[in-house]
Point group: C2
Chain length 303, copies 2
Amino acid sequence: MITKEKIAEAYQLIQDEICSGLELTDGSAKFQEELWQRDGGGGGRTRIIQGGSIIEKGGVNFSAVHGKLPETVKKALGVAEDDFFATGVSIVIHPNHPWVPIIHMNIRYFEMTGESDKDLRWFGGGIDLTPHYVIEEDARFFHAKLKQTCDQFQSEFYVKFKKWADDYFYIKHRQETRGVGGIFYDRLTPYSTGLEWEEIFEFSKSVGRTFLPAYTELVQKNRIKSFTEEQKLWQFQRRSRYVEFNLVYDAGTRFGLETNGRIESILMSLPPQANWVYDFTAKEGSEEEKTLKMLKKDINWLS
Amino acid sequence: MITKEKIAEAYQLIQDEICSGLELTDGSAKFQEELWQRDGGGGGRTRIIQGGSIIEKGGVNFSAVHGKLPETVKKALGVAEDDFFATGVSIVIHPNHPWVPIIHMNIRYFEMTGESDKDLRWFGGGIDLTPHYVIEEDARFFHAKLKQTCDQFQSEFYVKFKKWADDYFYIKHRQETRGVGGIFYDRLTPYSTGLEWEEIFEFSKSVGRTFLPAYTELVQKNRIKSFTEEQKLWQFQRRSRYVEFNLVYDAGTRFGLETNGRIESILMSLPPQANWVYDFTAKEGSEEEKTLKMLKKDINWLS
């Protein structure tokens, strides 16, 4: 039987592996760790890396918190349970190089306990890629990696979770996706997946372990490219869309802000610099226009 | 009897006056106008000024729109009326100079008509100042100007609307106010104010006409100051808080995003550049620390 302690422990290991791997890839910057305690129970290890040779600002955060469920959340979830436990690893990396993509990953486990004897617990998570310039070959490579991970567990996972990511990482007011998507999933249980708890746990860890090889490959491939001042400005503009998504739509961010989470850990996802240019129009035939055309839902990158 | 046409006309005049005045103050940049039509009815005049000698990015927008009330809004307002009309002028100015404050102003009129014979209409609005560095003398000057305007109409307006602004322009997750506040008011009617409709309309116009002399004074006084690279970076950080407020809390912005408003007009309020620095701590005794200490509710600037 998997316990919440075991899950939290496995997630911490994954955090360690990813931090070591990212430091190696960056080659210059090191993570700074802050341990924090939550007033209501539990705490976390926030790890921030800044000013690297390729990573301008990034966070790889672990937390395991528990306590009483706020009334608003109970209402939203439609449950009577009083106590919750949540653990997860959350990553956002903003590279300094416009040809290297932004990446986000999250794996998490949530459970509620209380009066009823229902088994209210599930896994959630996802990885998605936000290139400043969409490179089709890279998007294919990224999605193939994710499909490989998914296929080891359930033949339907990739298609289902890829669509879920398209719908979730969508900037409605811009009518564009945040990037080229990836996978997103929530409330995975034996009931919703047909898998045993142990298998879902393994899947969650596999998603966590897909992050490093996938991202390292994309960093190494693109960091050697040269770029112009104009491309740098485009990067700042794309980052402003990332800000819009995270502050307006991202459920985790909004949940954190509303429940007095640790602000600096929650908002580490925001870029070091973002620019808003009024009514920018990409030149016809430009790389920027090409990118905007590919920020759409339902692109089958593996066809 | 004041009609909605008359109100819209007066607001357009105020937009014209303010645009002329800001061009004079800036001395270099000119407004670019875009006329737009709303699918459901009405339209607007978006006027953007960029790359000026003092205004880096600013918008002075007029709109007068009408149509069917979305079900969600009807529910939120608790009304059965089907048709609405809304007109207003909205301004946000981001100066390029860290010692010159950001300013925002809005005057608006809203009415609903439908089956009931209730008089469902009201005026709303406000002005607030967001200095990157709080200068007490300037905050006093600004609040005195607003009090002067308020006092011409109702002795209680200033105190009431000043408090309303403190509560409204508040970044809860940062536990700081957006700036030094100003005035904010909504749903002004004869019933809520004891004034005639004509007087409330005059008040709305007076608020609009307070903007230019108040801001011009603050621009001229501070634009001659020199500044350092460090102060410029602080300006970018303060602007990131402005982004957080507008995307997370501002009712007008969120309403616009949810109702498919004209995105570029709504988001013209976002700064040309904003920076997020992880866990920034102001040096003890610094100007930055002094500013953070004054970003609090309930400061009586006129005492």
